[in-house]
Structures are given as C-alpha cells and as structure tokens.
C-alpha cells in the first residue's frame, strides 16, 4: 500500500500510476495532539482551499457525521474519526479511494456500517477502492478482487459467493459477508510458510515481500 501511494520506494519492480491520478487516502488512524486546536470542518478544508463550507458539510453528511462539523479533532472518538477521515478522502473527488484498515477502532456493529458506506461512496463517486483489512470475515461482499498477503501474495481472485447466513446478515447488513478461501499452504506463527514435507517449494523466493 505504501508503495502504491508512493510513500516508500520499491526495492525491485515498479509502480505505474496514471498521471494526475486523484487519490483519496484514508490513513489507519490520525492522532492529534490535544494542543492543536482544529475543528473537523477546518480539517476537511485543509489543503483544498476550494472546498466550500457547504461542500465540507455535505461530505460529512454523507458519512453521517454532520453534527461533528464544529467539534475539535482531538475530541473525536475512534469511530467518529474514521468517519471524518472517510469524508475527507471522499471530499477530494478521488478516482481511487485508498483505505487503510477503515474499521480500526470501530465496534463490531459499526464496522458493517462503515463497509456499507464505502460501497455507497464507490457507487456515488464512481471511483476504485483499494482497501487493506485484517478482518478477513468482514471483507465486503462488494469486493471484486481479493489479494491475500502474508509476506507474499498467498492468493488472488474473486471472493466466493456471498454467504446467506441469516445471523451474519442480521448483524452486519446485506453488504457484508465472510470471504472464505482455501490456501494451498499454511503459515507458522511467525508468518513463514510451512512446507509440507517431500513437496516442491510452493512459492518462489522472488514472490516474497511483494
């Protein structure tokens, strides 16, 4: 992810970005020193002077956080901060939304909501969404492609058919379903690949660290 955003340089290989690509980035978390007085609205407008107060408020409304407009950034709860960060990323009219663990610090019920919000935003903005997540079972049904990475690319492809389990639907809404998939190998606790004895190595070294 850091490679794609241009925050780290690749040690090998290359990243091709469309020139002038507008990225809306939502970092995993934002910790604001309490000594910095800044309202949510100002935060949304920071770095994009052409964003009017109304459009900032509209962006907040879209994520259900319009009441936070005048709140100080430092006073937001984890879930509120995630919404504000999402609103900020979306307010830049991105062609690509990059979300790093968007449900960090959000309680289980709220997680479903956040994922639904992301799906709705994608449809509204018509943008691509790149999302990194650890909660395997909450990765959206709306995900088109899943890249499973544990030091290397384990597997890659469409998520399986949405589970229709009523309990999941009730808890997380109809946009969220478990993503189940089979690995042809296992990882030990440190993340290294456990190779079944007597078999060819499953991954070639060069694949590691992608």
């Amino acid at each position: 992810m850091r490679l794609l955003l241009g925050l780290t340089k690749a040690t090998s290989g290359s990243v091709r970005r469309k020139p002038g690509l507008r990225i809306g980035y939502m970092p995993q978390r934002l910790q604001v020193d309490a000594s910095l007085p800044m309202s949510v609205q100002r935060f949304l407008q920071l770095g994009q002077a052409d964003l009017s107060a109304e459009r900032a408020r509209a962006a907040l409304q879209r994520v259900g956080a319009e009441h936070l407009s005048a709140t100080a950034l430092a006073d937001l709860s984890g879930g509120e901060m995630q919404r504000v960060l999402l609103a900020r990323a979306a307010s830049r009219n991105p062609q690509l939304l990059v979300l790093d663990e968007p449900t960090q610090g959000v309680d289980l019920g709220g997680q479903g909501e956040v994922y639904q919000l992301i799906a709705a935003l994608r449809d509204e903005l018509g943008c691509g969404v790149l999302l990194v997540s650890h909660d395997l079972h909450l990765v959206m049904a709306a995900t088109d492609r899943v890249l499973c990475i544990n030091q290397h690319i384990c597997c890659y492809g469409h998520p399986e058919q949405v589970s229709r389990d009523p309990a999941y639907l009730e808890l997380f809404g109809d946009k969220v379903a478990p993503y189940t998939h089979d690995h042809d190998h296992r990882h030990d606790i440190g993340g290294d690949i456990v190779r079944p004895s007597g078999q060819e190595p499953l991954h070639n070294k060069q694949e590691r660290g992608k």
């Binding site: 850091r2 910095l36 007085p37 770095g47």
Partner: protein, 265 residues
C-alpha cells in the same frame, strides 16, 4: 537615571524592538514546537550556539550570523539522520545536543577566546546594536514570510505526514523549512533571552495561548501577542528593578501562562 531620561535612551528602544521582533515570529513557530512536541529539538539547536559563537570569533563573523549558520547546519544533519530513522529522535537529539555543547567548549579552549558565558546563556538584550537589529528584522521577516506561505502545508504535515504526502505536500522540504526556521529563530533569540531560555520563549506563549484558542491561526496570533506582552513586562521589570532582561521576560511569560490557566474552557 530618571524615568524621562530612560525613555529617551536608545538602548531601551532597541531592546524593546528586538524583543518584540523575536516574540512575533516565535509565536507561530512555538505553536508548531508544541503541536509537534519539538521542545527538545529547540534545546538541541540552542546547545550548538556556543560552537557558533566560537566559529564566528575564529572566522571574524558576527555572532548572530555564525550561530545561525551553525544551527542551520545542525538542523540539516538532524533532518538527514531522521530520514534514516534507525534511532529514535529523542536519542538522536540527546547525542547531538551534548556533542555540540562539548565541541563548543573544546573549541573555546582551542581558539583561546574569552566568551562572555553569562550573556550567552542568559541573553544580552540591553546591548542590542543597530546592526543587530537590522539582522534580526531581516531574519524575522524571512521566517514570517516562509511561515505565511507554508502555513497550510505545515499544518497538514503536522496532522499526518503520510496523508500530507499523498495529498501532494512535499513533506521533506516542509520539514526542512520548519527546522531551518527554528534554527534561524534561535540565532536571533539568543541575544534576547540567551541559550538557556530560548525553549521557554518558544513554548510558554504558545502553551498559554492554547486555552484561549479554537483555531490554529488564533493560537499562533495569541502566542505572538503573549510573547510581546512578556517582552514589555520583562523589560519594564528589568528597568525598574534592575533584573536581568532575558530571565525577566521568560518569568513574565510564565506568569501570563499561569493566569491563562485560571480561565475555564
């Protein structure tokens, strides 16, 4: 000296002008020092001032210029080391600040110069010359201009460096600019409050302004105002009771800070 005579004495007005110049720019810079928790960074730069003074003496430069150059050099080294990030910033600062101080003291003895340590440590505001004043106002204007043009970028950078980088803020250059501004400020503030108390002049007005502000701009402006007030009060105390000017200014700032704490949120 009579009060009327005092008001006509040039040195007092020079001192006041110098103090206010430094207080004006240290307001917004101090806010960044508070927001980014860079107090120790200011201290480290200040520790290199002795080396700067010595180099200035050896190279026949004005002390302010030499200290400015030394501080800027140290700031560059710090930015470079921080990019590599193998040690924590805290450790790096500890190593550099005391190495610089030690180097300064060794250099003093090598060059066999006599440094007026007390004025270096505590400032020498009442001895500000017109040449000093000119240099200080040029530097302060440079800092103020940089601050004005980089304000939004500095704020974005302070909130979240990676977010700022993705949004097109040149973070390395912004960090460099912030450190150089601090280095320059320290060079001109040295004359006002001395090496020992520079961090106080940076931090206290900003911290005092926090309680009274709900936007970063207001906090910066109020920090400048509180700094100016402290300079006026400190100089007045210095004239009335013959106390050292630098420490009186810092003490005044401390008292203002204390008063601000009584205000309810």
């Amino acid at each position: 000296m009579q009060f009327g005579e005092l008001l006509q004495s040039q040195f007092l007005w020079y001192a006041l002008a110098a103090g206010i110049l430094v207080a004006l720019v240290s307001g917004p810079l101090g806010c960044f020092a508070v927001w980014r928790r860079m107090a120790y960074f200011g201290d480290t730069l200040a520790h290199s001032a002795l080396l700067g003074v010595t180099l200035g003496f050896a190279l026949h430069l004005m002390p302010t210029l030499a200290v400015g150059a030394t501080c800027c050099g140290l700031a560059l080294i710090l930015v470079y080391l921080q990019q590599r990030q193998q040690l924590s910033l805290d450790t790096l600062l500890g190593i550099l600040s005391h190495s610089m101080l030690a180097l300064g003291i060794v250099a003093v003895s090598l060059f066999e110069i006599r440094v007026d340590l007390l004025s270096l440590l505590l400032g020498d505001l009442l001895a500000v010359s017109s040449r000093d004043l000119l240099l200080m106002s040029t530097t302060a204007a440079l800092i103020a201009a940089l601050m004005y043009f980089l304000w939004d970028k500095l704020l974005a950078f302070t909130l979240h460096e990676e977010l700022a980088a993705v949004e097109g803020v040149p973070v390395v250059r912004v960090r460099l600019a912030l450190m150089l501004m601090l280095a320059l400020l320290i060079a001109i503030a040295m004359k006002v409050v001395g090496v020992l108390l520079i961090t106080a002049l940076l931090i206290i007005p900003a911290a005092a302004a926090r309680k009274l502000s709900n936007t970063p701009e207001r906090m910066a402006a109020l920090a400048s105002a509180i700094g100016c007030l402290a300079v006026v009060l400190g100089l007045a105390a210095s004239v009335l009771w013959d106390t050292p000017a630098g420490p009186s200014i810092v003490l005044s700032a401390g008292i203002v800070f204390l008063f601000c704490q009584f205000r309810k949120n």
